[in-house]
């Protein structure tokens, strides 16, 4: 089935899908049944990494890059002069199976330009997932894009065959969406999210009563925002993310640093660097909120609406809250230890386990793999830890920045790079 023409389509439709940053293949427990193919594990597997360092775990493609919309930030927009292509249902099925059997991928991530209308597009996406599950007995991971405006009935079908569904919000605020994607509005995106949230919650209830209840999007839903294309602050972005986590029970919100792809004067010009550091800081802040018990307002607020680019948000928080420190790691609660810069989530747990055996000394912390040179400013003054001088937050920041050979250091140097 798969022939030479598919190679060309794959080039076009993988290239067009690569700006969608979601790559997770975790959190679904779809077990191999009846000696079929595939077994979606609880944890994700990155099968390869691109030269830009991102994980490749799914065959991430568009069904087609023909699109009736004209969103300025999107390579597949109607007015863009690019080569167009479309896969057939069977071609996507064959590619997925061929790649999966060779252990290249964990499954399929299928998105699409909108051709004709929302339902027409969604129906094809669903047909591919259905064919994989029912005809190929495929139990690998499937992530489908839910097309805004698609009917509830099709969304339901999608949830039955896919592991995860996502609708991209694209822009953090309604104004930017209106500016760059005149055909879209937030309401069309929120509606399917809400529908999916309720269906997923319903499935979870059913599962409690009957463990054999058929799966419905067991890995939940996610969304993505493009950042740096418009002028939102990190406060607005993280506030929006928080809304999705709290109100929509999202599993993940992805942040996609805008890669300039057009000469449209509403957008950063081609050649403007991708805001990679900012994107990284947003992910760090996102983790602090989801796994470290931080509240959004502790990280960004009206008085400081943007994250520091030169230090990570946890260090930033600590420097603004020196009154919470020093912390005695031999007695403090786990929650407080997690908040010490240089000590991660797992290390904090190890500290709490290890201190039952003996009092921990600085060298023990180093052994545990903690960034001691960074953490020491926030640790208890009592023995065995050395007395730290009373330093101001600016002094601590300077010392830490000097200590670490930051990979971004050059980006912040005041000196001109003469020989670039």
């Amino acid at each position: 089935m798969v022939n030479e023409r598919v190679m060309e389509k794959l080039g076009i439709l993988a290239d067009a899908a690569k700006y969608d940053v979601s790559c997770s293949s975790a959190l679904s427990k779809r077990e191999n049944k009846d000696k079929g193919l595939g077994n979606a594990k609880g944890y994700g597997i990155c099968h390869a990494f691109t030269e830009d360092g991102r994980c490749v775990s799914l065959l991430k493609i568009l069904l087609t890059n023909h699109c009736i919309f004209d969103c300025a930030y999107c390579v597949s927009r109607k007015s863009n002069d690019v080569k167009r292509a479309a896969f057939t249902v069977q071609e996507v099925v064959d590619l997925t199976i061929g790649f999966y059997r060779r252990n290249y991928i964990e499954g399929l991530f299928l998105s699409s330009g909108i051709f004709d209308n929302a339902d027409y597009t969604m129906e094809r996406l669903v047909r591919i997932a259905k064919k994989l599950r029912l005809e190929e007995n495929f139990n690998g991971y499937i992530h489908l894009k839910a097309i805004p405006g698609a009917s509830d009935e099709l969304l339901k079908q999608a949830g039955i065959y896919a592991d995860r569904l996502s609708v991209n919000v694209e822009m953090p605020t309604e104004q930017s969406l209106k500016l760059l994607a005149p055909d879209k509005n937030h309401k069309d995106v929120i509606k399917p999210m809400e529908y999916l949230k309720n269906e997923i919650a319903g499935y979870k209830e059913e599962k409690k009563l009957n463990y054999k209840a058929p799966l419905f999007a067991p890995a939940g839903q996610s969304t993505q925002m493009v950042i740096g294309a418009t002028k939102e602050s990190d406060l607005e972005i993280l506030g929006m993310a928080d809304y999705f986590y709290q109100q929509m029970n999202m599993k993940r919100v992805y942040y996609s640093g805008y890669v300039p792809i057009s000469y449209d004067n509403r957008l950063p010009a081609i050649g403007t660097p991708v805001p990679i550091i900012r994107e990284n800081r947003l992910y760090q802040a996102d983790w602090l909120i989801r796994y470290y018990g931080f509240n959004v307002n502790e990280i960004v607020g009206l008085n400081q609406p943007n994250l520091d680019l030169d230090i990570d948000p946890k260090l930033g928080w600590a420097l603004h809250n020196l009154n919470q420190f020093p912390v005695d790691i031999n007695t403090a609660d786990l929650e407080l230890i997690k908040r010490i810069p240089g000590i991660g989530y797992l290390s904090a747990k190890k500290i709490v386990a290890a201190r039952q055996f003996k009092k921990l000394f600085p060298e023990d912390l180093r052994k545990l793999g903690i960034a001691y040179s960074r953490a020491k400013y926030f640790l208890a003054f009592a023995t065995p830890f050395q007395m730290q001088k009373d330093l101001t937050s600016i002094q601590i920041k300077d010392q830490i920045l000097n200590l670490q050979k930051s990979k971004y250091k050059n980006d912040f140097s005041n000196q001109l790079a003469l020989f670039n």
């Binding site: 077990e31 079929g36 390869a48 030269e51 991430k60 060779r102 990679i276």
Partner: protein, 257 residues
């Protein structure tokens, strides 16, 4: 000093531990299969693997460790790191001498070193679950060659068995010269002569399925299409996908034509 020589298997090592206690040996070093020539003045003790002795050591460890900690010792054994047997022995001695579970005593260097070896193996096993690349032969066998630092085949067997229940497959470790083979029913360990020059064009057309080369090229095409040039970060790329694995990964091998 006593040099304890065992057959290189996990059961053999456990038997050795039993006998070290039995004969009250002090100051020991381990050797696989034959005595090391470097140790001129050591007494040699040859261990004959004995399942009942091995089981008694296992039982003692099981009582004092969580199931994760218990399996951790075996994983450390598979790590093949330098002097792992001695690290395992010191850890075992600490575990057996204590009435409470000490596996989280991270302030203790034997606990920590053992944990590091365990983690090394676990990490590489996970990587091999990811980086194995199967090729399809004319007689519909999916085979892959790997060359890991740690002896991970025993750990990844069930993963591949569950995942590829409906295809015959073989994963061969060229470094240790054995493989695991799934025949649609069971997984067995096999030893065979494998031609490692299997990336040549001739080889592909000779033994591989007619679609195999095409799928490899499709994968290469996909791999290069998803890269975003303006975000290039080779340091991160290599950190995630170390170069030592590249020679068996399709996407890192140039096209044969």
């Amino acid at each position: 000093m006593t040099q304890v020589i065992y057959d290189g298997t996990y059961e053999g090592w456990l038997t050795a531990v039993f006998e070290i206690y039995e004969f009250k040996f002090q100051d020991i070093v381990f050797a696989k299969k034959e005595a090391s020539a470097v140790l001129l003045f050591a007494e040699n003790h040859f261990v004959v693997t004995d399942v009942s002795k091995a089981n008694r050591v296992l039982k003692g460890l099981k009582q004092r460790l969580s199931s994760e900690g218990f399996e951790g010792i075996y994983k450390a054994f598979l790590s093949d790191v330098n002097q792992i047997e001695e690290i395992m022995f010191r850890f075992t001695k600490y575990v057996l001498s204590s009435s409470i579970n000490v596996e989280e005593d991270f302030g203790n260097s034997d606990v920590w070193e053992l944990r590091r070896a365990t983690r090394l193996t676990r990490k590489e096993a996970h990587r091999m679950e990811a980086f194995v690349r199967f090729k399809l032969t004319k007689d519909q066998l999916y085979y892959a060659i790997i060359e890991p630092d740690c002896d991970v085949l025993p750990l990844i067997e069930s993963h591949f068995k569950k995942r590829y229940a409906d295809q015959r497959w073989l994963i061969y470790d060229v470094k240790r010269k054995y493989g695991i083979y799934y025949d649609l029913e069971n997984v067995s360990t096999i030893e065979l002569q494998f031609n490692t020059k299997s990336n040549s064009a001739n080889h592909l057309t000779e033994i591989c399925d007619e679609k195999e080369e095409f799928f490899q090229n499709l994968w290469r095409c996909y791999f290069s299409s998803v890269n975003i040039e303006s975000r290039k970060n080779m340091k991160l790329h290599i950190q995630h996908m170390p170069k030592r694995y590249w020679k068996h990964m399709i996407e890192k091998i140039p096209e044969t034509k």
